[in-house]
């Protein structure tokens, strides 16, 4: 895959990269860093992608790993942003603040699966591949997420 094809495929995935990273990190600055690093890593590791058809899932998986690294880093350092983050701030990625608050309130692992499934339209198999978790786990997290969302959103 040459750089031009790569650029096109990445551009096609931009919205997904934004939403997945924001749902995990809740902070635009960190999300941008994670996306930036994920794109660079993806290009450096293109030779490891054996089937171009999986590009988007593969790139999303790299992004998720980058977000996890960021989260791990955050656990070690207290960022001022943690105290100032507000759902109504610029970093809020949601159109509907009420629904956004409910999504943000989901446990992180459940939130990611819910966003990938309902917002991004990934299949259960895609999520399984991207998160490297068994299908049953994807389903159970979705089920838990659905339950919480139904309780809160009606």
């Amino acid at each position: 895959m040459d750089i031009n094809t790569f650029a096109v495929l990445v551009s096609d995935s931009e919205d997904t990269l934004y939403r997945v990273s924001m749902s995990m990190l809740k902070n635009e600055h960190d999300a941008m860093d994670a996306v930036h690093n994920a794109v660079l890593k993806a290009y450096e590791n293109l030779h490891k992608l054996r089937n171009d058809e999986y590009f988007k899932t593969w790139l999303t998986r790299i992004l998720i790993n980058e977000c996890k690294l960021e989260i791990r880093k955050q656990k070690r350092y207290v960022y001022l942003e943690d105290d100032t983050f507000d759902i109504s701030s610029r970093d809020n990625p949601y159109r509907d603040i009420e629904i956004g608050e409910v999504i943000d309130g989901l446990p992180p692992k459940i939130r990611l699966v819910v966003v990938m499934y309902y917002v991004e339209g990934y299949s259960i198999k895609d999520i399984k591949m991207a998160l490297r978790i068994p299908e049953g786990t994807v389903k159970s997290r979705l089920s838990k997420g659905r339950k919480i969302l139904k309780e809160k959103l009606g």
């Binding site: 930036h36 660079l40 030779h47 880093k73 309902y118 490297r132 978790i133 068994p134």
Partner: protein, 456 residues
């Protein structure tokens, strides 16, 4: 609920598009030096401590940087916020960017390019190294170091074995005990380079400066601010050699969720000579002249024994290099595509050397002394050396497409130290292609089950 959630996110902001554009451009710029950079990350393990720079504020053309502790691999640490007996040491780096250049935005590293053309100009990597570390050993592709002076600093130009187009220098900032690795783009003149280096200055920082940005967590057990990358726990489950493993695959083309490939180890052979192998099946990334003699016998290879540093006051160092006889483990693996569709299967098989603990758990033999942080480099290659049947593309080394209902036995060859064969296990992880049988265990997103099969 679907509809409610599908449109819950705002449109992706323009600034996000810019980040992605910038990353693609950077990837493009890096293409030429990609190989050397990948190697560099490996070499960082040897002796250096690296940092990630985060920009804090801009005052005119002077850019102030706060140095942020950042991991790299499983050892990386910042030393610019270094642990001393009386606490952390805070150092600030100031860079005055010469006219005509600007920072490449949204990069994790400090990189600069020409304002007008966007041509790559410089990037910098500050490090602090142990006193007796040989500078020649930090980077790869180093023929020799030429001592020079740049902007009144003692410096070394790296003379490479193989030209890559990008020049590299070490510049010593003695007042803060910082060694700066600087990459210089092809079109940069001596005067521009001198001007750039002259613009780099360090000063003492304060805790208050740092607190503007973040606070270090108060973790007394971890006062070296070292961050381990080994949060991925592996659970090793030993299986009998004749256990059938079933992979579950998904076809994006048909949407079929139930593609299945069964695999089983049929035979394991060990050899120290490659003459009987089909040369077409040998991974071209291996230089045969370096690993076999004229009779095809595998040559010994070196295994480095490392003493890990504390990441702050001590660096990693090689304490011993052992010469180890090599063997090739040949695994005949039968794959059967039981689906009605063709499938591609990533090769998830590798070799690991493990020792069984009294509680039944497995620990890599490369961990020689956990308490003293002494480890060995891998005893078995992480690359597959031989595949009797592999994909059509020369650049990709994988099992070819398995046709619907096709059954095929493929020999996988991996090089391993002969002395470790009794500890060698074929490992199988659920990476990408998930294992559906035996039942795959879920611990968390970062913990994986490895199924292992004893080689001997």
């Amino acid at each position: 609920m679907n509809k409610k959630l599908q449109n819950v996110f705002k449109s992706t902001p323009q600034r996000f598009h810019s980040v992605i554009d910038s990353a693609i451009k950077e990837a493009q710029q890096n293409t030429a030096s990609k190989k050397s950079k990948r190697v560099f990350m490996r070499v960082v393990i040897v002796a250096t401590i690296i940092v990630l720079l985060a920009s804090v504020t801009v005052v005119g053309t002077v850019k102030l940087f706060m140095v942020e502790p950042q991991k790299s691999g499983d050892y990386g640490i910042s030393m610019l916020v270094s642990k001393k007996s009386d606490g952390y040491e805070y150092i600030k780096m100031h860079i005055e960017i010469p006219d005509g250049f600007e920072e490449v935005q949204n990069t994790a590293r400090a990189k600069y390019h020409r304002k007008d053309s966007g041509e790559y100009a410089f990037s910098i990597l500050p490090m602090r190294i142990k006193e007796d570390t040989k500078l020649e050993n930090i980077e790869t592709n180093v023929k020799e170091l030429q001592e020079i002076e740049i902007a009144s600093h003692k410096a070394y130009k790296i003379i490479p074995v193989e030209e890559t187009g990008i020049l590299r220098y070490y510049v010593v900032f003695e007042n803060v005990d910082v060694l700066m690795l600087i990459y210089r783009g092809e079109t940069i003149t001596d005067a521009e380079f001198e001007s750039f280096v002259r613009g780099i200055n360090f000063s003492k920082g304060t805790k208050e400066d740092h607190d503007e940005f973040y606070e270090l967590t108060d973790n007394k057990d971890d006062n070296t601010i070292m961050v381990s990358d080994k949060s991925n726990k592996h659970d090793y489950v030993e299986l009998d050699l004749d256990t059938e493993v079933v992979f579950g695959l998904y076809s994006e083309l048909s949407g079929n969720n139930d593609l299945r490939v069964n695999s089983k180890i049929k035979d394991i052979r060990i050899t120290d000579n490659i003459n009987d192998l089909d040369r077409n099946g040998i991974n071209s990334s291996y230089n045969l002249d370096e690993i076999v003699d004229k009779n095809g016998k595998l040559l010994p290879d070196s295994v480095k024994i490392w003493q890990k540093g504390d990441g702050v006051n001590t660096a990693e160092e090689v304490i011993r290099i052992d010469s180890e006889e090599q063997s090739l483990v040949l695994i005949d693996m039968e794959f059967e595509n039981t689906s009605d569709e063709d499938v591609q299967l990533y090769i998830p098989h590798r070799l690991s050397t493990l020792k069984k603990e009294s509680d039944g758990s497995f620990v890599p033999t490369a961990i020689i002394d956990k308490d003293k942080n002494i480890t060995a480099s891998a005893y078995c290659d992480t690359e597959i050396f031989y595949l009797s049947d592999h994909g059509e593309s020369e650049k990709r080394f994988y099992i070819p497409v398995l046709k619907a209902k096709e059954k095929k036995t493929i020999t996988i060859g991996i090089r391993c130290c002969t002395s470790q064969l009794s500890n060698a296990y074929i490992t199988l992880s659920g990476v990408f292609d998930s294992v559906v049988s035996p039942e795959y265990r879920d611990y968390s997103d970062n913990e994986y089950t490895y199924y292992i099969f004893k080689v001997q």
